[in-house]
């Protein structure tokens, strides 16, 4: 099991392997699957835009939506994906939101929007998502089955 911390990203096509990220609050897990090569990848995005900290973006490109998605695509290629974006399935999990009338603390929502914009720029879109709301989420994606499972404390597990 590969466990991603905040700002980490990774991809794998190793049979039996899985990628997991624990306790997403306003962070968003961007999950990519290539059904043909059974390559799966994930980026634990914390903030929408790398202009918040160029230094952090250098150390951990996965931290931001704008630097994280290209990095994840590269990791997908290294693990077997052939670079054809039409083949990729994208799913989004997390981004629980704080309803802030000033629009400052609504980072969950801004993360999701920033990710969707960048996906769109790459000619991609998410086919499934479990985002927003006011709960925390833990997510796992399996290489063998491609299943994306989501758990929240005290709730039943769900799949997208």
């Amino acid at each position: 099991m590969i466990i991603l911390g905040v700002g980490d990203f990774g991809a794998t096509s190793k049979p039996g392997e899985a990628i997991k990220t624990i306790g997403l609050g306003s962070c968003v897990a961007v999950i990519m699957l290539d059904p043909e090569t059974h390559t799966v990848g994930m980026d634990h995005v914390a903030l929408p835009d790398s202009s918040a900290s160029a230094e952090r973006a250098r150390q951990k490109p996965g931290h931001f939506a704008d630097t994280g998605l290209p990095a994840l695509l590269e990791a997908m290629k290294r693990s077997g994906w052939n670079g054809n974006t039409r083949r990729l399935i994208v799913k989004l999990v997390g981004g629980a939101n704080v309803m802030d009338p000033n629009g400052t603390f609504n980072i969950g929502k801004r993360n999701v929007l920033a990710i969707k914009k960048i996906l769109w720029q790459h000619g991609m879109g998410a086919v499934a998502e479990a985002v927003g709301g006011q709960i925390s989420r833990t997510v796992t994606v399996d290489v063998d089955t491609g299943r994306v499972r989501i758990s929240t404390p005290g709730r039943e597990e769900m799949e997208i």
């Binding site: 306790g23 914390a46 903030l47 000033n102 400052t104 709960i135 404390p153």
Partner: protein, 290 residues
């Protein structure tokens, strides 16, 4: 309600704060205190001294030469860590209890409170009126201790509460607790703060951190800071279980804390960094102390 009465009564049966932890809190509450005072209190307490030295010599803070005195350790760790360690030792039995009532794991309450404390300290420079960063940190450490007390009472009600909350019956998790038990973790925390004779401002934090506008005027800015620190902790991935993110932000926070989107993002980055650096060290101190 009968249940709420017995919960509040159970607070009075909890062991009091150690004298050194209480003294450290009093000293930190005074903005003009000196580092010497902190050193003196810590030095007089063998358990605190041992933990401070262990943390100072742990990997996260490692220096070339061994730190052998509290006096040398303090500049390495910073005051807030020392007070955090002192508090952590005498509250370890509370922080280390698994939070059944919230489906939380052992250690989650401590991590949530520590992350809130760091965030509150990082937020304090943005307060409209000055608030001592160290006080904000201490407030963050203590804010949710009511959960440790109320958790076992919530355990049987948990599924019902979650269902009701998810079904939109309650405006936030606090009201869900209130409906189930006739009290909530903030009220119980406030009672604990009184039982411990904490400075009034810290009792206000424990009591009002979800509705800071209800705090007394003197402590209100501090309570708002911890309120925002609580959100930053949950947003960053450190909650306590079923209730994570399930609270509302107090809409008038911007009158007390002036922070831009960009500044908040940087606060979140710094908070995450320091949290990661501190967790290994202070968690060890926690575990070693029971």
């Amino acid at each position: 309600m009968v249940v709420s009465k017995s919960i509040i009564e159970s607070v009075r049966a909890l062991r009091p704060l150690s004298p050194s932890a209480a003294q450290l809190l009093q000293v930190m509450n005074n903005p003009n205190h000196s580092l010497r005072e902190v050193v003196q209190i810590a030095q007089r307490d063998a358990v605190i001294t041992a933990h401070i030295l262990r943390v100072a010599n742990s990997a996260a803070f490692a220096r070339r030469s061994e730190v052998s005195t509290v006096e040398k350790a303090l500049p390495v760790l910073g005051e807030r860590t020392v007070v955090g360690i002192a508090l952590g030792i005498c509250t370890a039995h509370l922080f280390n209890a698994p939070l059944e009532g919230y489906a939380g794991e052992k250690g989650e309450l401590w991590r949530h409170c520590l992350r809130c404390a760091i965030a509150a300290r990082e937020i304090s420079p943005f307060a409209a009126a000055p608030v001592a960063p160290e006080l904000a940190f201490t407030g963050g450490i203590l804010h949710d201790l009511g959960k440790a007390v109320i958790s076992s009472y919530l355990a049987n009600e948990r599924d019902k509460i979650v269902e009701g909350y998810d079904g939109g019956q309650f405006s936030d998790y606090l009201s869900a607790e209130q409906a189930a038990l006739g009290t909530n973790h903030a009220e119980v925390g406030g009672a604990l703060g009184v039982h411990w004779n904490l400075p009034a401002a810290l009792v206000q934090v424990m009591l009002h951190h979800h509705h800071p506008h209800n705090a007394g005027e003197q402590a209100r800015a501090l309570v708002y800071i911890v309120h925002l620190g609580d959100f930053i902790a949950m947003m960053g991935g450190s909650g306590t279980g079923t209730d994570t993110m399930s609270y509302a932000i107090d809409q008038s926070y911007s009158a007390y804390v002036k922070i831009s989107k960009r500044e908040l993002e940087r606060v979140m980055i710094r908070t995450g960094d320091e949290f990661e650096q501190m967790t290994s060290a202070t968690l060890n101190a926690q575990e070693g102390s029971v």
